[in-house]
Symmetry: D2
Subunit: 344 residues, 4 copies
């Protein structure tokens, strides 16, 4: 059996429509650093997709860049960024936000289901000595959507948390490395999940979901956008041949293809989760997007690996499996068969 | 007449062999962030091309990132980076080196032909109060090769400047956004121009010379390489699907194609310069690579623009023209015809 | 009744021997920025007091400066500093360590009695993905001694934690804003509590314990000391007339006066704690140094305030009281009388 | 003969009225970190002295801190600070402004008499590509008053330069390490030289001119002041017993004593300069404040040193002499006698 890739959606390849768009953009010459018509089209596309006439988009080449640069434009150096204790920005970006944010700090907030709870957010904000320079001032709420554990905030949850944050003058950021999976799962509009719910800026993931090397910062306010013109450049995140980044993102967003590829990944996870549940496998998270954390004995895991399943062992007795735009129904069937074997 | 692109080599498209390599890499799955076989092949390729068994390569997505990250690993925060007064890192990267270098400063050094002269370098170093914390300590010499004004340091010049610098314990960096043009023009080996001449690290430009979105830091010493593992990540310059960056760079470097495309651009510039010289146009620089700065009256420049020539007006009476891997002999002939018309 | 100051040892004045030393240093002229004989004497004094011939001392003017600068010299920008969840550097210095450390991050570690426990430290270190740049690399263990909650690590506890840390190549820092109170309470030697126990650098508090405007970084290793020459200057922490800082510190350290003033403060706290215990007041911490956190009803607290007691309300039903070198036995007697009144 | 101190005003001691004020403030207890009545009095004093009802003052402990923190609040990270090529912030503060300014860069501007000329400033500003993130955006004009070479901008010169700067939306900063010497020499009011001339913020030097360890940032606008509340703290420049810093500054400013001590230093320099001129000594600068750079043969310099004169050799054949509040007429007479001897 060929290996079945369930380690990460980052391990998937480039979706055909994205690669074709890059090739199609490769004609004639165009000014560098974003002064090209393709990048202008991208901004129009983003405004249409997000139904926001003033939205600004900054293509970058990694999710860490998108998050840390957006946060650096939303948070003063003496501020703190609040995220869930399990958030990627807090645990898996090597301190990028503190570096690009000139020493801004990150603070974890609790909450079940790997999501910040309103009560925990209020308690955190109530404990702050506002205006006292001894204490980092909470300045941004960052929600990871979908979370690093594959759970999803509802639109109402985002709106409630954003409302609490904005009442204390915090800005609201969405780490959307997998936001397409969340939107597809929720069936909402991009606008409803973001600016209409109180979100100021968004890291728009694309690479995991089929792009080649394109992420973007989408900003709904002018002030952070004006800063990002400079912040992206001096962090080395204004690519010279930006039209090829922009072309990827246009192809990605157009005709709802980003939501189709994400829905595909989600459907494969639903297929996998249903099969595993019927096999009695216990889940650590609710796999509503494209990620599953499951309790699997180490001996079973070893059998699965021998059978060609690729996944991550997260800790003793827990494995992580992720589906992507590229995962096929047959692969999931084969994976389930491998589980059935290994569990008997 | 179709427009003739002479504004920048950044305005050129992607070379076919690079785009094909990206497409060819798009099969199966691979671990993200550089843990993939293509990236391993890239390191082997770089070691072969540079004839250095310990060379390390870090793919990034912009020249600014390559320069500022390399310099941040070579220069302590209290150090200064010396470059020519006209250098890109000093004038055109928005302070990236100071930002990523935690407040390191940049200092311009003089010299004719837009190159640092040994005398100016010695004078600068002699004027330093070494060990006195009131004064930023020169820690890195950065040579731009080819320079931003299209001139080139000979191998002997690089070696002499590097020797002066190393005698004072400075590290040596090459801003090689157009290093292929320099190597092609000099006819030297990559090794001779870099580590054998005393260079510690190199920004290896590729995008201007035919890549899609790939630059790289090449490091010949272990200590800065060990830092760059972390510095690239926290600056957001470790792309998730790095194999597609690496595939570009392998295609770019293999079979001397980077030198062929650069030689092509240089040859087009030689063709242009010879023609302009015979028309009596006065040059600001010696166009030994692919860039020409020429004295052209503003009225003439306007005529050239009307004829479809694309170039930059650098100041009153001076224009910049740059050839690329994509510039054709016919385009140069047409450009020369336009000049002949405009000058009469 | 005159007010009785129990809010903070920071609220106390300058001890007479310190003020006299400043006046005594005010004769003749001396070179600025530490090139003066008084500062040379200070280094000799520190080496004698800490029984370490290579100790280096850097006078600064705040505890935040001492901590953040020392940590910036011990921790790479991509590292993390581990401290107890209640530590001052984590909660009360406005992110100074992340700013001066170029984006280094701080992580809280748990443990009873407001001290890091060996088990919690080991668990934290075991959970790290070492060498993976996605994850900040623990690089420094910072122990607050005495803690912000007035408890004290024994010499054996410091040594055990330092040993665990050093086994993983972490450096060890002591936030000694109240280290004199800890040494006085433990009855140990400064050397035993610091470098002999594995401590690399120390923030030596002096202002709370009787100085005018003097703190110091004491470093037992050459590498961070060499960095601090530059780091202190560029953070604006090399005072021009440094001899007056050094004179304070010499007077402070000489003849064990720092331990005498600290022992005095501790003794007053012991007097207060004994009295309150006999009144049935419940303590939140073990007041082994000069700080007490006690459960006191808000109504009682209001009565105490009316009686002239100055203290901090930390939260509902909890107050903080701190004694200093200036607190008198009579003041404690009066404070206890006020408590007796208020509690009846 | 006792040594005669002419190396630096930094080498002088503490003026009696300042030391007395520190001692006088040492009674009772007071809240730390500036929440004390003495610091409140300081703000009132500054508002009165500068005739500005909204002025804010931030005591710090070094001139480098005053400059770099003020500039960090006036300049965005992607901005540049323009100062004269000989300015202290550019050459002698170890890159503090770039570090505390999160990578802001500094650029030198020319001009005779060691002062920025309007023409050079206009030319610099005209050469900028405004709004282009490749190029650091000039954001602050910093004037050193008196300059590091002892010359002085007239009120009209400050106003003209500030007007040019403000027309391009730059903020204006005064490095006033020796501003008292300038005001005393000009005979103007502090208000006329600062906010009435267009200055937004001022580094108010005090230590060189008689204080113990006190400098201050004076800000005339609310926005940078609001930032400095946090920026000073996280740089470790909010001293705990701030009342003793504030007491120094009140004593320094009250009853025009800062101008008297500065006028004294200026007068001693005038005495010295007149004597030296009559001896035929050639000056490098116009010694209108308290600093003289003079052409003195190295052999003569050696004789002067033997005679007990303390001064700095700046380069071959040039020495620097500085008078202070402590320099006596007799010392100048003795210095002149030594010169007369050495020159014959």
């Amino acid at each position: 059996m060929a290996d079945i890739e369930l380690r990460s959606d980052n391990a998937a390849g480039v979706a055909p429509h994205v690669l074709e768009a890059v090739a199609a953009a490769n004609h004639g010459s165009a000014l560098a650093y974003g002064d090209d018509p393709v990048t202008a089209d991208l901004e129009a596309t983003v405004r249409r997709v997000f139904e926001h006439p003033g939205a600004r988009v900054f293509p970058v080449t990694s999710g860490t860049a998108a998050n840390a640069l957006a946060l650096s434009a939303l948070c003063p150096p003496w501020g703190s960024v609040l995220s869930h204790e399990t958030a990627h920005i807090l645990n898996s970006e090597g301190g990028a936000t503190s570096m690009l944010g000139a020493g801004a700090v990150m603070r974890g907030v609790g909450g079940d289901d790997f999501k910040i709870s309103p009560g925990a957010l209020v308690a955190t904000l109530d404990s702050v000595r506002w205006g006292d320079p001894h204490h980092s001032q909470p300045s941004v709420l960052s929600l990871t959507q979908a979370t690093d554990m594959g759970t999803i905030y509802s639109v109402a949850e985002v709106a409630e948390l954003a409302s609490i944050a904005r009442d204390r003058n915090l800005r609201v950021h969405l780490d959307g490395a997998r936001v397409a999976n969340a939107i597809a799962a929720l069936g909402c509009s991009p606008a409803d999940l973001t600016w209409r719910a109180g979100v100021d800026a968004l890291s728009l993931g694309a690479t995991k979901n089929g792009a080649l090397s394109a992420e973007a910062i989408v900003v709904f306010d002018e002030a952070p956008a004006a800063e990002l013109v400079y912040r992206t450049k001096r962090a080395g995140h204004v690519t010279s041949k930006m039209r090829f980044q922009s072309a990827q993102l246009i192809a990605y967003l157009s005709d709802d293809r980003w939501l189709h590829t994400a829905a595909h990944a989600n459907a494969r996870m639903a297929q996998l989760a249903a099969g595993l549940a019927s096999l009695g496998v216990v889940f650590v998270n609710r796999p509503v997007a494209n990620m599953l954390f499951a309790e699997v004995d180490d001996a079973v895991a070893t059998k699965l690996e021998s059978a060609g399943l690729l996944f991550y062992r997260i800790g003793p007795g827990v494995i992580r499996m992720v589906t992507s735009w590229q995962t096929t129904p047959d692969e999931i069937d084969a994976a389930l068969a491998a589980f059935a074997d290994a569990l008997t």
